[in-house]
Amino acid sequence: MISGGAVLLGLQLPSGAIQGDKWGEIDTRFLYCAVSALAHLGALDQLDRDRTVRYILACHNPDGGFGTDPGAESHAAQGTLLSNLANLETAC
């Protein structure tokens, strides 16, 4: 398993996705949680901005919404990703 991993930056995968915990579920809601938490801690500069933004945009659908993963159907909860994009725009 793991030892000493961190729950925020340590959960980001090479794709840019952020998993919820050590068990590996992936959902853009978790990406929102991590970016928001890092913003509270003043640590957004430690996040790989390009990789994260690229992943968020990969979850953007032709209907204008965002899904839980690239290709997943749009859901209102994933609209929170827009605040992530706003955060990342101003912080990095």
Binding site: V7, G20, W23, C33, H40, L41
Partner: protein, 145 residues
């Protein structure tokens, strides 16, 4: 069978926000520890505390939940193995409960407690986890608020 017209007719919605009732509802949530539902929802406790506190802040009654008790609860959920906050003491850390923990501390102007207790750097450090996908299906069922 007789039914009273009062029972059949929906009551008109209140004309104003019933703040004392809402406050009492939130305050009572943490006092149901002998109910099965309380223990079946421990995986959402940190989130629930955040939701309750946010509601009380909006209602103008944040003092209803004791500040030090909130801070103590948050840190009782710190999981040192995974360097994050779980939703309940002894639970694995999760990014959702970690966000709620940080939001609770921020609302109570207590983010410096992360430094005092020496966990801030551990929270954000970049150490890649090795993962197990074994419970991904089960997690997707239980982890939605």
């Amino acid at each position: 069978m007789s039914t009273s017209s009062a029972a059949a007719t929906p009551r008109a919605p209140p004309g104003e926000l019933l703040i004392p009732l809402h406050v009492a509802f939130v305050e009572a949530l943490d006092k149901k520890r002998d109910s099965l539902a309380y223990h079946f929802t421990t995986h959402l406790r940190m989130n629930g505390v955040y939701w309750g506190l946010a509601a009380l802040e909006i209602l103008g009654r944040p003092e209803v939940l004791d500040r030090q008790a909130l801070i103590d609860f948050v840190f009782s959920c710190w999981n040192d193995d995974t360097a994050g906050f779980g939703s309940f003491p002894g639970h694995d850390a999760h990014v959702h409960s970690t966000l709620s923990a940080i939001q609770i501390l921020a609302m109570k102007d207590a983010l410096d407690e992360l430094d005092t207790r020496g966990v801030r750097d551990r929270l954000v450090q970049c150490k890649q986890l090795s993962t197990s996908a074994g419970t991904r299906e089960a997690e997707s069922l239980i982890n939605r608020p």
